[in-house]
Point group: C2
Chain length 704, copies 2
C-alpha cells in the first residue's frame, strides 16, 4: 500500500488511522478485547520538525529529504474478564508499522470519556431498576419522557473511593408537540444517576436539593409533581412562543472575485500570512508554523484547556465541573458547519478524521471553516490642510470551529489581520445548565431563568497556549509596565512623566495581569534589533485582567485546575507538553503534569525555547436574558507586532472605495457636493464640505 | 418668518441659528465688536423634556401640546479696544426672540479654541519676526517649507502668568514631489511658537530638547541641519515607498431589500429599538430617549470628555495635553464621511449645523453615518440528540462619527444589537505625535518610529456619560461582585461555592474597576421586579479595568483631569452637567465643576435621577508599527440587559441561511452529505455528519 507524501503536520489520513489500528490489533493477542478511545497524529519532536521546516522554507525540499516519522498515538483499553480495563497508550510508526513506544497508564488516572461510554451510560440507565425506581417517585405530566445528559463525574472528594464513574443530568421532554427538538432543559429533574464505566452499572442515584435561599445544603422537595411549575422554553422556530421577526432585511457578503486566500492541503496563504492548520480530537483547530512575509512568528497556537466549575456548594454540585478539552475533547465535539449559517462570504471547509468505537477512521465533515471578513476601518488619516482623507479597511482571515457539549456551545476563532495582528476569540453560547428549584423560591447560588429552573453561577476558564517563534525559536519573554514617577526637579519637574519599565523573565514562572500598570507581555528575540527603534523585535499582548478561579484554593475544584490560579504561565518548551491541566483531567483530584508542574521545574527561559500560557475567565452569573439560548459572550486576546516590523504592515493596503455601498432611500446627495442645505437670515447659503476645513488656512509657510 | 414644528431634541436649524445670532447682535450695542465662538441647541431642562416625552410616547402629541422652549446657547467674546475680550454666554429663545439668560465668564476660565483663532495663529506666525528668526537658525533641505499645527497651550504651571495662549507644533514639508499630501509630521522641528490670542502676537518661541536617554531635560541640539537625518514616511498611494497590495479581493456588503432601519428627522427606528440622534459641536453624536420595545433604557448617552497627556517630562512637554472635547470640540472636528470608505452597506448620513467666524450657520455634510453590520453568530445551539442546529446571526446598528485633530483621528461608534445590547466603541488611529530626536539616539520617553522622529509615550483617557432611564428616570446603581467563600461544613463544605454580593450605591461616589472580584455596575429600577428572577430590572456593564491617569496626582496634568482618577463616577443628575472635566478645560490648572466636584456634593443617588460616568484609558507607548498611520486600537464598553427582559430578546431573530455565501473554489460538497472521504483498511467507508452524532443514542427514555 503506497502513501502520498504528506507534510509532517498533516493530520493522520483515513488510511494511516486504520493502519495504526491494525498494528495494535496485530501486536496485541487477538483474544484480548480492545476498546479504542482515540487515534491521532503525534506531532513530531520539535527538534526534528524545525529541521524539516528550515529545509522547507529554504525551498530545498525533495522526495529525498529526511522526514520526521509519521507517528500515530493510539489510546485504548485492554479489557480482560468482565470489567478489567487496562488503559494503554501506544505510539506506532504508520510507515514502518512498528510500535515505537507503549505506556500502561496508572489506574489513578482516567482517560477522557468516549462516545461509547456515553452510549453505555444511556443503556445502563435504561436497564437500571435503581434509576427506574427513582424516576417512578415523580409524577410526570402526561406525555413527558425522561432523558439523561452524560456528564463527567468531576473530582471526587479525597475520602471518596471512586473507580471510573460517569454521571448524568436528568430532564424531561414534552413529547406532545411531536417535535424531538422541544427544549427538555427547561424541565430539570432533581436526580443524578452515577455509572461505573467498567461494570456498566448504575451504582447510585444522587438526590438534588431543590430549595431556595433559606433551605440549606441538602433540602430536597417531597413534591412528586416536580415539573408542574416548570414552563416551556423553546427556541426552534416551529415551537417558538412568539412570532419570528420579519423586519431583519438580508445583509449579504459577496466576493465576486473569490477569496483572497489560497489553500493547499493544510497550508493556508493569505495576504502576507502563511501557516498550516491542524486539527486534533482534544484541542480542535491548531495553527502551526505561522509566518508573515517569510518571517516566523509562532511555532504553534492552540486552545489548551478549559474548565467550567459551578459555584453551587450544595452536594453533589461540588463535582459539577467539566474540563471540556481533557474530559471530552473539543475536536470530538466539533459541529459540522453549514454554509450561510455559521459564516458568510466565500468559505473553505476542512474535514476531520476521528475514531469510531471499533477504532476505524471516520470522517467528520466541515468541522473547520476558513473565511474572510471586514472589520471596519483599519486606519485613517485626513490631512486637514488639504481635506484629503485616506481610509483603509481592515480585512480579517478567520479560522473558526464550534463545539457542542450537551447543553452548551463554544465558538472558537483564530483571526489574522493585515497589520500583523493575531486575535484569539472565544464566544460562549448555547443553553445554560439549570437545576430544579421549588416554585416561588430564589437562590444565592444562581438565577431563576425560567419557572422551576435555576441557572447556577459558574465560571468558564480558558487557557490559550502560545509557542512563539519570533524570528526564530529562541525567544525571551519580557514584561513591560508603565509606572508613575515621583516629582523631581532633575527628572520629572512637572510630574507629567512616566516610566516604561521592561523586565525580562529569566526562569519559568507565573504572573498575573496588572491593568493599573498596563502590564504587557512581550515575546522578543533579543538577538534581532528593530533597525529604527533599536529595540528587540517582538510581539506583545495584554493578558485580559479577568477574574480567576473563584473556588477556594484548598477545594478539589481548584486543586485540579492549578492553571486557573494565574493569568500567565511562562515555561520551557517540552515535547508533548500541550495541556494546561495535564493529560488526565477526567476525575482528577489535583492537576498532574500540567502547567503548574512545568513551572516548578524552574528552567531558564531567557533566550530559550519558551512557551507562554494565557488564562482568562468568564464569571457567568446567568441573566434571564441568557434563556433559553444565550447571546454570545465574547472574549478576545490580541497578539500584536511591537517593533517587529519597520512600519505599519497594512500601510500598503489599497484604499478601495466599495462600490456596492449605497445611500439609504430618501437620503440627500453624497459627501462634499455644494448642495444648498438651508437658507440663513439673509438668504445667503453656506455649506461646508468639512468642519475641519474651517481649520484650513495657508499655514504659515516659511520660506515661501 | 414661520418655523416647522421641531422636536425639542432636534438640533438648531440654520434659520434658528442665524436668528439667535441676530438677536445677540441686536441686543448688544451695534458698535461693540462681537467674536462668535459657537451657537448650538441648549437641551431642555430634564423636567420639561421628560414631561414632553411622556406625552409623545402616550401618543397624545398635538400642535397644542406645550413644548419646551427652543433655546440657543451663544458663546461669544465682546471685544473692546484692541484686545479686551469679555467672554460671554447668552441663552436666547429663538421663537420669542428673548434673551433668557446671560453670563460674563470669569477671566480665570478660557473658552474652547475656535477655528478663527487657529487661523489667527497661522497668520501671526507668518508675521512674526521672532518665529522667522527661529526658523532661520535651521538650515532646511532644499524644497522644504515650514508649517505649524495649532495646539492648545495646556495647563500652565501655578507660578506661570499666562493670559489666553495658543501654541504650535512645527514641522517641515517636502514640496519637491509637488504633492501637498506629503507627510510633514516626519520632519519635526524643535521649536514651539506661542501666541497671545488677544494681542495676536507670537510672544515666545519655546526650544525643544532633541536629546536621548542620557541627555537630561533641556538638552538642545545645536545642529542646524536638524532634518538631515529624518526620512520620508508617506501614506498616500501616490507617494508610498512600496507598491500597494494587489491581492485583496473585493468583499462587498449588499442589502438588496434596503436597510432594516427607518429614519424620520432625528428619530431612528431599528428592530425593537427607538431613539433620537443629537449632534453638538462639543460632544459630536449623542443618543437620546433610547427605548427597546417601548420601554425606556437610557435618557441620554454621550462621549463626555477625553484627555491626552504626554509622558515626556522635558519642558515644555508638561503642557502637551489636549482635552479634545473641551479644548477643541469633537463635533467641530468631525469628518465628512464618504460612501464605501468609512462604512459599507446601505448608509444614512446626517449633516450638522455649525457656526462660521461671523456667527452665521454653516452646514457640514455627512458628519454622522448610520448603517447595519453583521457581527457573526449571535446565538447557536445544536441538539445533539437530533443534530438539529439553530443558528442566529447578530445584526448591529451603528451610529458612527470620526474626528480629526491635526495629526490624529478617533472613530467613535454607538452600536445597538438585537439582544438588547448597547456598545460604545472608540478606535484610535491617525498619525502619532512625534518630536525631533538627534540621529542615533533613543529615549526613555518614547519610541523612535522613524529616523529623527520620537513618538512620545502618552495616554488617551476617555469618559462616557450614561444617563440611564431603566423603565423610568429614577434608578439605583448597584455594584455586583463575585467573592470567594470560606470552606465551612454548614455552607460551603467542598469549597466550590462562591458568593454574589450586590450593594446599592446610596450617595454620589467614585469607584474603580475590580476585575478580580468581577465587579459589575448594575443600573436598576428597584420598583420593578423581573417576574421570573424576582430581581430588579437592570442593565449592567463591567468597567474596563484599564490604567488610569499616570501623571503624578499633584501635577497640573492630573489636577486638571480629576475625572481621570477613577473608572466610575456616580452622580445626581443636574441640568447642564454634561462634561466630566468641567466646561472650561482650555488652559485649566485644575478641574472645575467637573465630575469630581459633582461627586463632592454627596447627594443621595438611591432610587433617584442618577448619572453614571465611565472612564477608560489607552496607555499608548508607540510601536514602530504605529507609523506613519497607526492601525486602529479598539476599546468597547458593553451595556447589557440583566433581568430587564423575560428571556433572550434575540430569540425571535429568524435563522436565515445566507444564500450569497458560497464554497471556495475546489472545495468539496457542502455539509452533511454522504460523500465518501476515504477508505479504511477493509475498503469500507465511514462518514459522520457530525462528531457529536457519536454522542447520539436513544437516550434512556422512561417511561416509553
Amino acid at each position: 500500500m503506497s502513501y502520498p507524501i504528506l507534510h509532517p503536520l498533516d493530520v493522520l489520513s483515513v488510511e494511516e488511522t486504520n493502519k495504526a489500528r491494525q498494528i495494535i490489533i496485530d501486536t496485541r493477542c487477538a483474544k484480548t478485547a480492545l476498546l479504542f478511545r482515540s487515534i491521532a497524529l503525534e506531532e513530531p519532536p520539535k527538534a526534528e520538525l524545525t529541521q524539516f521546516l528550515d529545509i522547507e522554507h529554504a525551498g530545498k525540499l525533495t522526495t529525498e529529504t529526511k522526514r520526521p516519522a509519521r507517528i500515530a498515538k493510539i489510546q485504548y483499553d485492554v479489557v480482560s474478564g468482565k470489567d478489567e480495563h487496562e488503559y494503554t497508550e501506544s505510539w506506532v510508526d504508520v510507515v514502518t508499522g512498528e510500535e515505537t513506544r507503549k505506556r500502561i497508564v496508572d489506574k489513578v488516572h482516567h482517560a477522557a470519556l468516549t462516545l461509547v461510554e456515553f452510549q453505555e451510560f444511556s443503556d445502563a440507565c435504561f436497564d437500571s431498576s435503581l434509576y427506574k425506581e427513582a424516576i417512578a417517585e415523580f409524577e410526570l405530566p402526561e406525555g413527558f419522557v425522561v432523558t439523561a445528559d452524560p456528564w463527567p463525574y468531576g473530582g471526587p472528594a479525597l475520602d471518596e473511593k471512586a473507580p471510573r464513574y460517569i454521571q448524568g443530568l436528568c430532564f424531561a421532554r414534552d413529547t406532545r408537540s411531536g417535535n424531538p427538538d422541544a427544549n427538555y432543559y427547561t424541565y430539570p429533574l432533581p436526580i443524578i444517576p452515577v455509572m461505573d464505566t467498567n461494570t456498566k452499572e448504575i451504582i447510585r442515584i444522587d438526590r438534588l436539593a431543590t430549595g431556595g435561599k433559606d433551605d440549606g445544603l441538602v433540602y430536597g422537595t417531597h413534591n412528586k409533581r416536580v415539573l408542574d411549575h416548570c414552563s416551556p422554553a423553546d427556541y426552534i422556530p416551529e415551537l417558538l412562543a412568539q412570532p419570528l421577526r420579519t423586519d431583519v432585511k438580508p445583509l449579504n457578503v459577496t466576493q465576486p472575485e473569490g477569496p483572497s486566500y489560497e489553500v493547499e492541503g493544510n497550508l493556508v496563504r493569505w495576504q502576507k500570512w502563511r501557516f498550516r492548520v491542524g486539527f486534533n480530537p482534544r484541542e480542535g483547530a491548531t495553527l502551526h508554523d505561522l509566518r508573515y512575509d517569510g518571517r516566523s512568528v509562532l511555532y504553534r497556537l492552540s486552545l489548551s484547556e478549559m474548565t467550567v466549575p459551578y459555584g453551587d456548594p450544595r452536594p453533589p454540585f461540588h463535582r459539577k465541573q467539566a474540563f471540556d478539552f481533557g474530559d471530552a475533547g473539543a475536536g470530538r465535539a466539533a459541529n459540522n458547519l453549514a454554509l450561510g449559517c455559521d459564516c458568510l462570504g466565500v468559505i473553505k471547509y476542512f474535514d476531520a478524521v476521528l475514531t469510531a468505537k471499533d477504532g476505524t477512521a471516520t470522517v467528520s465533515k466541515n468541522v473547520l471553516c476558513l473565511h474572510e471578513q471586514d472589520n471596519g476601518i483599519g486606519w485613517k488619516h485626513t490631512n486637514y490642510t488639504t481635506q484629503n482623507a485616506i481610509v483603509s479597511r481592515s480585512r480579517e482571515l478567520v479560522v473558526q470551529f464550534i463545539i457542542t457539549l450537551a447543553n452548551y456551545e463554544y465558538i472558537f476563532a483564530y483571526k489574522l489581520d493585515q497589520a500583523g495582528g493575531i486575535t484569539i476569540e472565544t464566544r460562549a453560547t448555547g443553553i445554560v445548565s439549570v437545576v430544579n428549584i421549588d416554585a416561588g423560591k430564589t437562590s444565592p447560588w444562581g438565577n431563576v431563568v425560567s419557572s422551576g429552573a435555576l441557572a447556577q453561577n459558574h465560571q468558564h476558564i480558558f487557557c490559550v497556549r502560545i509557542d512563539p517563534a519570533i524570528d526564530g525559536y529562541n525567544n525571551t519573554v519580557a514584561v513591560e509596565e508603565s509606572l508613575l514617577m515621583p516629582i523631581s526637579k532633575e527628572i520629572n519637574p512637572y510630574g507629567n512623566g512616566y516610566e516604561v519599565r521592561t523586565t525580562p523573565i529569566t526562569h519559568a514562572k507565573h504572573l498575573d495581569a496588572s491593568p493599573l500598570t498596563n502590564l504587557t507581555i512581550k515575546l522578543t528575540n533579543p538577538h534581532i534589533l528593530n533597525p529604527i527603534s533599536q529595540k528587540p523585535v517582538a510581539y506583545k499582548f495584554s493578558p485580559l485582567p479577568t477574574q480567576l478561579m473563584l473556588a477556594h484554593p484548598d477545594s478539589i475544584v481548584a486543586q485540579r485546575a492549578q492553571f486557573a490560579q494565574h493569568h500567565v504561565w511562562v515555561t520551557k518548551y517540552k515535547d508533548g507538553e500541550l495541556w494546561a491541566g495535564g493529560e488526565f483531567t477526567n476525575m482528577s483530584q489535583r492537576e498532574t503534569d500540567g502547567v503548574s508542574d512545568a513551572v516548578k521545574r524552574g528552567e531558564c527561559v531567557e533566550d530559550a525555547d519558551v512557551v507562554v500560557w494565557n488564562v482568562f475567565a468568564l464569571t457567568h452569573n446567568p441573566r434571564v436574558e441568557d434563556w433559553p439560548v444565550m447571546p454570545v459572550e465574547i472574549y478576545q486576546i490580541h497578539l500584536k507586532p511591537a517593533d517587529f516590523f519597520t512600519g505599519n504592515p497594512a500601510i500598503d493596503v489599497q484604499q478601495t472605495k466599495n462600490n456596492t455601498s449605497i445611500l439609504a432611500p430618501g437620503s440627500k446627495d453624497e459627501c462634499c457636493t455644494n448642495g444648498t442645505n438651508g437658507v440663513n437670515g439673509n438668504g445667503e447659503v453656506k455649506v461646508q464640505g468639512d468642519p475641519a476645513s474651517h481649520m484650513q488656512s495657508d499655514l504659515s509657510i516659511y520660506p515661501k
